[in-house]
Each structure stands twice: as structure tokens, then as C-alpha cells.
Amino acid sequence: MYKYVLRRVLLAVPVLLLSSVIVFGLMRVMPGDALVALMGESGNIGERELAKLRKDLRLDLPYHEQYALWVWQMVTLRPGDSLFTGEPITTSLKKAIPVTLELAALAMILGIVIAVPIGVLSATRQDTPSDYVGRVVAVSGLSLPDFWLGTLVITFAAIWFHWIPPIGYVSLWDAPWRNLQQFLLPAAVLGYRLAAATMRMTRSTVLEVLREDYVRTAWAKGLEGRIVVYKHALKNALIPVVTIIGGQLGVLLAGTVVVETIFALPGMGRLTVEAILFRDYPVVQTNVMLVAGTLVTLNLLVDLSYAWLDPRIRYR
């Protein structure tokens, strides 16, 4: 087990390095640079000042030195300052991470709480009307664009209920009620998509497991239906479901980009998109690596959770 974890961690290092090269490379070949964007903001700057600025920001170094410098900054956890606002990246991250984390966690909870029971219901009542409804709801969740759903939710909340989510982000600890008002709708929009994928997977694996011998034995012993389904079948059906949820984390994080934009939440997604548009290299690079690192770690945790769900699984 420890060996397995160690090997996975060692494998993750080249993957993250490669990701960093991709991001670094993409940012460098992007046309236009942050300084030009900055100039547009603050009027004209002379050629000499520009050169000085470039030197201050170490943008005059050759690419490989810039890259090495950046990797060192990442390793020592000192990502530097935003080119655009001059704010230390750690400061803006401290503000943005809780927003995205709360959004993602809420979406995930909503998604799972909705998806698993409906998936089980859909499987135990296969080919009944409730199964069809469940499946159509699930496949629509995968088809409705989240930016459309978000826009509609805001519009109709405003038209029908004359209700607009409070503007100006407040943290959960300062004003829990106001904060929840801001987060519930976006989390529901995000959660629906996650729920859709999870629901489909739960349905198909529960269907499979229900045909296994030990489930028949459980029925034969005269166990109650609820116990057979939830205690015997569901736990073994959960492995692919956990994989799907793990795989959806990337989708979830991408979804935050759109949903944060629509609902005006100052999270990681919006920060990254704005940074890409402003060519704010350090911010983009840091954010993407942070997300990539999180995804790699979560995937490892997902893989490790298999052993807990199914003790027959051993890691080599």
C-alpha cells in the first residue's frame, strides 16, 4: 500500500512538470503580452520605462530561465505578484479559493444527494415510468449548457419572484444566510450536471449488481428489500460511481469558470479566465498548476478509496 502510494506520487511528478511546460509554453506563445495590456490601462509608457518594467518583472530573461525561476517559485510556494494588479498571487488566491471550494463542495453534495437515491430507484424499478423519468432527467443534465441554465435561473427568479441574488460576495462566516443565497443557485446549476453523470452510473452499476448471486442469496434469506438494496448491493455498486465522481471533478472545476462568470462570484475560475484575457502569466500559471495538482491528488485519493469500498482490492 505505501509502496503503491509512493509510486503514484513519483509518477505524478513528471505529469505535473509536463503540465507546467504546456501551460508555460501556451502563455509564452500567446500573442500580446501583459505589458501591452497594462499600457492600455495606464496610458502611454515610454520605450525605456517599458524595458525597465520588463526587467523588473524578469520578462527579459530567456524562456528557459523564466521557466526555471517559475518552477523554483512554485516549489518554494512563493508564486510572486500579478503582472496586472501587482497584488501578490497568494493574496488573491486566499480570496478566490474559499469561493470556488464552497461552490464545488455544495455542488458536489447537492449532486450526490440527488443522484444516488434516484439512480438506485431507477435501477430497482427498471423500465417503469419512474425509471424513464429518471433517465430523461439525467440525460438532460448532461445536455443543458450550464451557462444557459444559469442565465435562465437568474432571469426567471427575477421575473417571477422579483428576487435577485445579493450582489457583492460575503463569506460564509460573516453572513451565512446572505452567503447561501449567493451560492445555492450556482451550486444547484453545477450540481445538476454532476448529478446527471452520477445518476446514470449508479443506475447501470446497481442494475448489474442486482443480478449477482449474493444478492439473490440475500433475497433468499428473506432480508428486507431496503437492506438488500442499500446494504448489499449499493456498496459494491459504488466503485464505478466513485470513479465517475472523481472524473467529474475536472468537469466541476471547469464548470465553476462559467458559473462564477454568470453569477458574479469572485472565485478561481473567474480569476483564471480574466488572467488569460489579460495575459497575466504568473496568475494563469499558478492557478492552473494549483488545479492540476488538486486533480492529480484527488484522483489518487479516489483510487485509494477503492480498497475501502471493496476490501478484495489490493494495491501493488
Binding site: 509518477l11 513528471p14 505529469v15 505535473l16 512538470l17 509536463l18 503540465s19 511546460v21 504546456i22 501551460v23 501556451l26 502563455m27 506563445v29 500567446m30 500573442p31 433517465r135 430523461v136 440525460v139 438532460s140 448532461l142 445536455s143 443543458l144 449548457p145 451557462f147 444557459w148 441554465l149 442565465t151 435562465l152 437568474i154 432571469t155 426567471f156 427575477a158 421575473i159 453523470a197 446514470r200 452510473m201 447501470s204 452499476t205 464505478p240 470513479t243 465517475i244 475536472g250 468537469v251 472545476l253 471547469a254 469558470v257 462559467v258 462568470t261 454568470i262 483564471t272 479566465v273 488569460i276 484575457l277 494563469v284 492552473v288 488545479v291 492540476a292 486533480l295 492529480v296
Partner: protein, 302 residues
């Protein structure tokens, strides 16, 4: 089934053509029996026909502006209303189907082809090549797809074609992995071993013995990806880095006018979104049908 399958005369060709016949049959059977499958085929047919005959079907020129009837409500003359500069939304949605389909088909085509080549090579050769390629794929997948697509489009400058390229790149890793898995299991077959034993060359083994095993998963994944590609194109256009105005693209229509006028003229947001949803729904359901008909084992891939 009670019908007798016609057997080809040449023994050598039995596997490939028989597989093809049974696949077409299985798909036909599934489409006739499953209501959702039939609905998806109808939806796709509708969208494809709309895209082909867009010029004939649309009552107005999608680019023609008539400011005097701006933001008109849906009516008999303008079934989906008009936008902020008086363009007919119905005509724009009809023409938008071309962009969505075009981007979807090309992006998925390129992404699938590239993913297939990489997957075939990795799965067949294994070893060091496989290890390196798989790490590169891991690295691409570690970056959230939308962020990667956004960055790629920013590099290439926003346009429909570049959105398509970005989507194709995002598709490659997942596809290559599925093909690789299918190749590795196909390699276990006795006939592959036999082909190697009688000294067939690698390209021949790959093309005539392994490839036929991989086509079903590829087609299934491709049909599911089609829906997703349309969704990503719409999202990129929505964020302003995909199709550029004044070309009618569903995502762009939603973001530019749909959001700005959503309270005065909700139809500007509703109809393009509905069009995207129906198109994606059609391809998703079709992919499901294909999967159930051809390869129930693939159910766990998404």
C-alpha cells in the same frame, strides 16, 4: 432472430463483414425498439437537414438588420422574435446549426483520429513509447478542459476554426486511452498471436486484425463526444473566444444579446439555449443507443 445471415464466400473475410452486418442490424434493431433511440435519430436527422437546407428553410437573411422592429416578441412573422438590432432569431438559429454541426463533426473527427493513432501505437507497442505518451496525456488531462481550450484559443486568436482545433486537442487524451485499452485486450486474441507467428508485418496486424476490434468503441465515444463538442463550442463562443459576430452561433447569441436583454426579451436567451440542448441531447441519446446495441461493457466509460 429468425432471418438467415448471408455468408460471404471467401473464408478470410468472414469476421470483418459479418461483424459489420451484425452491427448495422443491432443498431437498426435498437433504434426501432427503444423509443429514446428513435427519438435521438429523429433529432439528429432534423438538425442535419436543417444545417443542409438552412438557406431554403430560414425565412429571412440571418444577417439582415431591421432596427425598426428590434426586440420584437415572438409572432407569426418572427416565430422566435427579433434581437436587439432587428435580426430574425429563427433564421439565425437555423443558420447557427451549421456552425455547431461543422465544429462538432470536424473537432470530433480530428480528435478521434489523432486519439486513435496514439492509442493504437501505445496499445500495440507498449513499453517506453506507451509510458511517455501516457504521461503526456495525463498532463493534458490534468489541466481542466475548458481552461486548456480557452488558453489554446487565446494563443491562436478567437475564431470558429481555432475553437474547433482547441476542442480536438481536448478530446485526444480520453480517446487515446479508450483505444489503447481496447487494443491491449484485442492483442490477447489467438488470431493476433497466429498472425505474428506466420510473420505478418506490424502495420498489417494493426490494420486488419486489431483495428476491427476497436471501431465499435471509437464510434460510440465519438458520438458521445459530438454532443460535448457542440457544448464546448457554445461555451467558448459564450465566453467570447469562439465564433465571432456577426456569424450566428448559438453560444454567441446567448452571450451577446441573450444576457444583455434577458429581462426585456427572454426569448433571445431561451431559443438558442434550447437549440444547443436539443442538439446535445440528440447526440447523447444516440451515443447511449449505440453503446447499448454494440457494447454494453462500455457502459462504465462515462
Amino acid at each position: 432472430m429468425a432471418t438467415v445471415t448471408a455468408r460471404p464466400a471467401a473464408l478470410e473475410e468472414v469476421p470483418a463483414s459479418a461483424v459489420e452486418i451484425s452491427r448495422t442490424r443491432a443498431l437498426w434493431h435498437a433504434l426501432r425498439r427503444q423509443p429514446l433511440g428513435a427519438a435521438s435519430a429523429a433529432l439528429i436527422a432534423l438538425i442535419v437537414l436543417t444545417a443542409i437546407f438552412a438557406d431554403v428553410l430560414s425565412p429571412y437573411d440571418p444577417l439582415e438588420t431591421r432596427p425598426e422592429i428590434r426586440l420584437a416578441q415572438p409572432s407569426w412573422e418572427h416565430p422566435f422574435g427579433t434581437d436587439d438590432i432587428g435580426r430574425d432569431v429563427f433564421s439565425r438559429i437555423i443558420h447557427g446549426s451549421r456552425i455547431s454541426l461543422w465544429v462538432g463533426l470536424l473537432a470530433v473527427g480530428i480528435g478521434t483520429a489523432a486519439g486513435m493513432v496514439i492509442g493504437l501505437l501505445c496499445g500495440y507497442c507498449e513499453g517506453r513509447l506507451d509510458l511517455i505518451f501516457q504521461r503526456v496525456m495525463d498532463a493534458i488531462q490534468a489541466i481542466p478542459a475548458l481552461v486548456l481550450a480557452l488558453a489554446i484559443v487565446s494563443v491562436l486568436k478567437p475564431s470558429t476554426t481555432n475553437a474547433m482545433i482547441a476542442i480536438a486537442i481536448v478530446i485526444i487524451p480520453g480517446n487515446s486511452r479508450i483505444v489503447r485499452g481496447a487494443v491491449m485486450s484485442a492483442k490477447q486474441n489467438r488470431y493476433v498471436e497466429a498472425a505474428q507467428a506466420i510473420g505478418c508485418r506490424h502495420p498489417r496486424i494493426i490494420l486488419s486484425h486489431i483495428l476491427p476490434n476497436v471501431t465499435a468503441p471509437i464510434l460510440i465515444i465519438a458520438s458521445i463526444w459530438l454532443g460535448n463538442a457542440i457544448l464546448i463550442e457554445a461555451t467558448l463562443s459564450f465566453l467570447g473566444v469562439g465564433t465571432q459576430p456577426p456569424t450566428p452561433s448559438w453560444g454567441l447569441m446567448l452571450s451577446s444579446t441573450g444576457r444583455a436583454f434577458m429581462e426585456q426579451a427572454p426569448w433571445l436567451a431561451i431559443f438558442p439555449g434550447l437549440a444547443i440542448s436539443l442538439a446535445v441531447l440528440g447526440f447523447n441519446l444516440f451515443g447511449d443507443t449505440l453503446r447499448d446495441a454494440w457494447d454494453p461493457r462500455l457502459r462504465n466509460t462515462r
